[in-house]
């Protein structure tokens, strides 16, 4: 009876709306989503005290207005130290099975600890952060309410992951058209782009499969003959994984320039042109990436379609903003 009265032990509907046409959100057993956990993670996500010189928070590289990216080619950490990869969008991160462009990390909880220590990101330690917030009664109360423990790495990693799981985006005009029967939601050009995107010629949806616009597979799209970043091979050590990167979601893609793992493409048109050209022909290149022979109008239509994947409600959601 005592247990039944306890909020934490009762099955609750998720405190976040997941569109019906999305897969089920699976949450680790030790981090069921609760309002207290989300609130703690939200404060942490926007807290620059997590960085050595207190200049950078997670949101510095993952800003809501840009669908949780930073508009830079590669991440820029403490002391303006440049990272090696482009900061990816955290759109629908709750549904991602492995993290980073090479998929080297298995849980969002584990991923959340990385940036705090990374030299080219926050360059700090959890111990240092805990010392800074030792006298902060609000934080202490929030960790207590969320996880029943004093501030520590467990609460930091779980809280950040809980907040990130609320980054659910399924409110684009494409969603209205495709799943909510609003036949006027897409323009004629966007509709032509949609048909190309889903069709057999362009084959974009083979990898960028709706509704999440990714299969989460690791693919080589023939960006380079020799990749400076070996991608998936960095984790597996296998030659056949060289130049393979996790297929990124294309939701909110108009807001997340520049593109690709290294931020090497400035515009959506550059990206579509790359697929139209068919890649450089790397040994590991996917058979789906080959010259498409699209006319300029068709390239325009594809770009128009990609722009219809923006979810204004998501990037303006007050629940996701700095608390």
């Amino acid at each position: 009876m005592g247990l039944a009265a306890c909020e934490r032990d009762v099955e609750h509907p998720l405190p976040v709306d997941v569109p019906e046409w999305f897969p089920e959100m699976v949450v680790p057993a030790d981090n069921a989503l609760t309002a207290d956990r989300i609130a703690l993670g939200r404060r942490l996500f926007y807290d620059p005290l997590l960085s050595r010189d207190t200049s950078i928070s997670c949101s510095s590289c993952h800003a809501q207005a840009m669908a949780f990216t930073d508009g830079r080619q590669v991440g820029l950490g403490v002391g303006d130290r440049a990272g090696k990869r482009n900061a990816p969008s955290l759109t629908n991160i709750a549904f991602v099975p492995a993290f980073n462009a090479d998929g080297g990390i298995g849980t969002l909880e584990l991923q959340a600890q990385g940036p705090i220590f990374l030299h080219e990101e926050m360059d700090f330690t959890i111990a240092g952060f805990l010392e800074r917030i030792a006298g902060d009664d609000t934080y202490t109360a929030m960790f207590g309410a969320a996880y029943g423990r004093r501030p520590d790495a467990f609460g930091i990693s779980r809280g950040l992951a809980a907040f990130e799981r609320t980054f659910v985006s399924g409110g684009s005009r494409f969603d209205q058209y495709e799943y909510q029967s609003v036949s006027t939601a897409l323009s004629a050009a966007e509709l032509r782009g949609r048909d190309l995107f889903l069709g057999n010629v362009a084959q974009c949806a083979q990898c960028h499969t709706p509704p999440l616009f990714t299969t989460f597979a690791y693919e080589n799209i023939g960006l380079y003959a020799v990749y400076a970043d070996s991608g998936r091979a960095r984790i597996t050590g296998l030659a056949q994984d060289n130049g393979r990167f996790k297929v990124p979601t294309l939701r909110n893609i108009a807001l997340t320039a520049p593109y690709m793992h290294d931020g090497s493409m400035a515009t959506l048109r550059d990206a579509v042109a790359h697929f139209n050209n068919g890649g450089v022909g790397h040994a590991n290149q996917s058979a789906h990436v080959r010259p498409l022979g699209l006319a300029p109008q068709q390239v325009d239509d594809l770009v128009a379609f990609l722009q219809s994947l923006t979810d204004e409600g998501f990037v303006n959601d007050p629940e996701l903003s700095e608390p």
């Binding site: 009265a5 306890c6 330690t125 111990a127 805990l130 423990r149 790495a153 779980r158």
Partner: protein, 268 residues
């Protein structure tokens, strides 16, 4: 008498009872969270400091005598390496596990040995003579890939540790970190100013070290002294050519340093 006083008495106590139910219902189970304690309880979620430890004998400590060849270790102190090249360290640490004295293995004892610390506690062992001390430099694969945030607060392997050394890109501990600066001039007459950074990790680089000798422990606490010559880890490494590895991106250098690990240790 009217009913009023009675209701006044009843109402607050009913509230109080309700509060108890809620409070106990939401309270995390309290008790001892240290697996090394005899009253360890895996279901406990809040450690209330009640851990009780069995004291079967002598508490063993290891004392590390940190060296740079013939002199005491010092951060930033310039020493000369195997080929006479100037080297200085800015970071020097490693994880130590599966410490075995005689026939007793301290299964759950993990140490983070840093050149800043000299005395580290290991655990209890029966008094008497023990032949041979061995240990791993690194963390065994079963534990290496667990989420470091899930250890008890003060555990060596917890990401709360101020010296926590863990890779975020391919999760696992950085068994050993050697960072510093070296003179890279051909004539070896310049300054130690070129950075080196050698990070050893990955399951296959776990290294066992065995030191022969007979050790007698007695009393409440015992101390065994171990010499660590940090320069020896870099023996035969040409620091003009090879100064950086995360083990994965330059396995050759990592394997070379691994090969030097055993010879860098001796009993005091």
């Amino acid at each position: 008498m009217t009913m009023t006083p009675m209701r006044d008495r009843l109402f607050p106590s009913a509230l109080f009872a309700l509060f108890i139910v809620l409070a106990t219902g939401c309270e995390r189970k309290e008790g001892c969270m240290d697996p090394l304690a005899i009253n360890y309880d895996a279901e406990v979620e809040t450690d209330n400091g009640s851990c009780v430890y069995e004291v079967p004998g002598t508490y063993l400590n290891l004392r590390f005598n940190h060296r740079l060849g013939g002199v005491d270790f010092g951060y930033g102190a310039v020493a000369t390496n195997w080929e006479g090249r100037k080297v200085k360290f800015t970071l020097a640490q490693f994880y130590m596990s599966k410490i075995k004295l005689g026939t007793t293995t301290f299964e759950d004892s993990y140490l983070l040995v840093s050149a800043r610390k000299d005395l580290l506690g290991v655990g209890h062992i029966g008094a008497g003579d023990h032949a041979g001390l061995s240990f791993n430099v690194g963390v065994d694969s079963a534990v290496n890939h667990l989420d470091p945030a899930t250890w008890p607060f003060d555990h060596t392997l917890s990401s709360n540790n101020i010296d926590h050394a863990h890779w975020s890109w391919n999760p696992g501990y950085i068994f050993m970190k050697l960072e510093g600066r070296v003179d890279t001039t051909a004539a070896m007459d310049g300054d130690a100013d070129a950075a080196f950074s050698i990070h050893i990790g990955l399951d296959e680089l776990l290294t066992n070290v065995a030191l022969a000798g007979n050790m007698n422990v007695s009393g409440d606490t015992a101390i065994i002294g171990i010499n660590v010559d940090w320069l020896r880890f870099l023996d035969n490494v040409d620091l003009r050519l090879e100064r950086s590895t995360d083990s994965f991106n330059n396995p050759g250098l990592a394997v070379a340093v691994k090969g030097n690990i055993a010879s860098a240790f001796s009993l005091e």
